[in-house]
């Protein structure tokens, strides 16, 4: 339940209300000492207490400290004297410290992050994202960047796809082992884009010993019928966020050219996947320098950091999905293949002609 910040701001000092709101939207527990809040917000302590009561989400707790030695009396049982300095409490009453607490789940640990790029880029955005994660968490969250180069034609062929999946699998196993040896506990969270989402999904499905933490799909070309529920059930993945660009130009076409792909980023996935729209985004808008920070702070970071992810204002539930009939997909694939062969032939012809003109034949 979120308090009515507007109403509180009208009734109490807006500065104090804003201080509480700022803490409320962060992850983990929060606790206010009314004396400190009063000092920071330039109000009186009783006013601060009235405000904290009015917010309606806090539990008032009182802790005791020995007035003689300052010893914290929490958890020492019922006593009539200080266990540290023996001060008699009937003579020296302990001091009390009041806190207004909101007990929430411990912030989620993000041990390390793996980012996997799509087929159209070599992942320049990964470097930008890595820098952003580093700035956000300082040095405590290493970011592993998985690169496999530009592979536009390769994605059309099953054999090439399988090779790429195996390569990712091996890399993930190696990185996980290295992270474990370095003292990072837990599986990595993964941020994947475009064909990278397909690779991650295939690798997890292929090898049920691979585990990751939370997965963020961007411009996903995974088929909407992919069994995420099964993977979550067997504890291979903790949770999945599908951040789908509403104006994605490539995702709807993926199934026609990439065998086994689908428009997951646009259509969405069935629960428990959370589908969050990236309004007016195209396939790679996420990574534009003026957008990356915003989507990271507003969507990706909360998803990774909160034990129970916050609710976004506009999520959607995906309905059933069926791929286009196989003959249609085969025909389009053939068309693409033909185009590819044509382009290759054209390139070869130009090359041969060029060489011949150079050698004067």
């Amino acid at each position: 339940m979120s308090p009515d910040w507007g109403a509180l701001g009208r009734e109490f000092a807006p500065r104090a209300v804003e201080m509480i709101r700022e803490r409320f939207v962060t992850e983990g527990s929060i606790a206010f000492n009314p004396v400190i809040l009063a000092d920071r917000a330039r109000i009186t302590a009783p006013e601060a207490e009235r405000l904290l009561d009015a917010v309606g989400i806090f539990t008032r707790s009182t802790m005791r400290k020995c007035s003689q030695c300052g010893f914290d009396l929490t958890g020492v049982g019922e006593r009539d004297s200080c266990p540290n300095c023996s001060a008699d409490f009937s003579e020296h009453e302990p001091e009390t410290v009041v806190h207004y607490r909101l007990d929430r789940e411990m912030p989620r640990d993000v041990p390390w992050v793996l980012v996997v790029h799509g087929m159209n880029t070599r992942g320049e955005w990964q470097e930008e994202l890595s820098w952003l994660v580093g700035r956000t968490y300082r040095h405590m969250v290493p970011v592993a960047i998985y690169k496999y180069g530009k592979i536009q034609p390769g994605v059309m062929f099953r054999s090439r796809q399988r090779a790429l999946v195996r390569k990712l699998e091996a890399k993930l196993i190696k990185l996980s082992e290295e992270a474990r040896r370095a003292g990072y506990s837990g599986a990595p969270d993964v941020i994947a884009h475009s064909f990278g989402t397909w690779l991650v999904a295939e690798a997890l499905d292929r090898n049920d010993r691979l585990t990751i933490g939370r997965l963020i799909l961007l411009g996903s070309v995974v088929r909407p019928s992919y069994p995420w529920q099964k993977l979550i059930g067997r504890k291979q993945i903790e949770a999945v966020l599908n951040h789908g660009a509403t104006n994605d130009e490539w995702v709807p076409r993926a199934q026609f050219f990439i065998p086994g792909a689908g428009p997951g980023g646009k259509h969405g996935f069935a629960p428990p996947v959370t589908n969050v729209p990236a309004t007016n985004f195209r396939h790679s808008t996420y990574f534009q320098p003026d957008r990356l920070r915003g989507v990271f702070e507003e969507v990706w970071q909360p998803f990774l950091q909160f034990e129970v992810p916050p609710s976004w204002p506009a999520t959607w539930i995906a309905d059933g999905w069926k791929p286009y009939p196989l003959p249609v997909r085969f025909f389009t694939w053939l068309l693409g293949f033909g185009l590819l062969v044509g382009l290759a032939a054209l390139a070869a012809t130009i090359l041969i002609l060029g060489v011949r003109s150079l050698v004067g034949l």
């Binding site: 962060t26 992850e27 983990g28 527990s29 929060i30 606790a31 000492n33 707790s61 802790m63 914290d72 929490t74 958890g75 020492v76 049982g77 019922e78 009539d80 266990p83 008699d88 009937s90 003579e91 410290v97 806190h99 607490r101 007990d103 929430r104 789940e105 411990m106 912030p107 989620r108 640990d109 968490y137 300082r138 040095h139 405590m140 003292g183 506990s185 950091q305 034990e307």
Partner: protein, 362 residues
Amino acid sequence: MSSWCRHKAYYGDVSEVDQAQSLVRDVIAPQNAVYLKELLRDAGVTVKAAASKPELERLLLDAVRDEQLTLAKLTDWIDQTEGWGDEHVYLFDVAKSFCTKPCWKDGDSVRKHVTGVKKLAEFFGADTSFEYPDQRTLTGIGFDKEAHELTCVWHQGTRFDKRVKEKDIAPRVEDDGETYFYKAYRQAARRNVARIAFRPRNALAALFLPGLSEPKTHADEQKAMLAEVASIVEVDPSGICSMSEAIKELDTRANTKKGAESIHARSTRLNTPDGGAYVEFASDTEQGYGQYAPLLKVRKAVTTKEFIGAGAIFHFTLSPIAGKERDVRVNLYGDFHRIRMWKHLRREDVWAVLSAIRSALP
């Protein structure tokens, strides 16, 4: 000395009910209210949740009078409760070669082993002592077959002054024309319990010293106690379990989702190995500091390999009593590897905490 003789020696020739009531006043009433309530409820006495200590004492005395609580029942209860919890503890790893000796095979072997030592034979299986000796005195050695644990118990009576405001004398002018007022104290007696418990199956020994004892005296006390029973339990002081290491591991566990279900770290201090500098994490509330995102972020950035655990306050979750959630505060100190518990507990609770601490060590 038989149980009856011991009771007589302490209480004189009095009825069992009188003895039990004396026991309630002298030994049982000062224990933790939670356990007193549990004792009363087990005896079929209705107890209000908010009952005060004096009310509980009255209910206990009534229960003894009505024979709902017998002397035997109270004696058993004392064995499980008195002294447990509010104490300093030192854990020792014991040599495997000693633990696997045939003398630790079963209860009979242990009895033969202990009674084979002339000066200690009389203490084996002795009834619970109710004496208040001036000096710390070995009063019993027992073997718990279920826990496979040998326990040596020492008792010491101490006197202390308890402030009693209602007996104060208000300011008054005396013969010399000056005004005097008097603060009243009642002289009371208390029993301190010290123990050495040895669990051969875990190759672990624990030395317990009463909460009120001064840590600076502990080295001498440890030495004396270990020497007194050295002929039956071989504990090498160099085998003391490192609380420095335990602090680091428990703190790491407490800051994970799974670990936080059974332990939370309210305060942890990590020193550089040379002791020249330190970093400290602490919560001002009853929660672990890891619940607060900004602190957890900083903590995750710390590589514990570069530090030694200097001190910590942990809260361990204990099994509930009558549906009531319980936790116990335990301080760990890196120097001298001391564990300090603060609250009266049952023996099983103390062992649950010690096992959790030991599990944090290789």
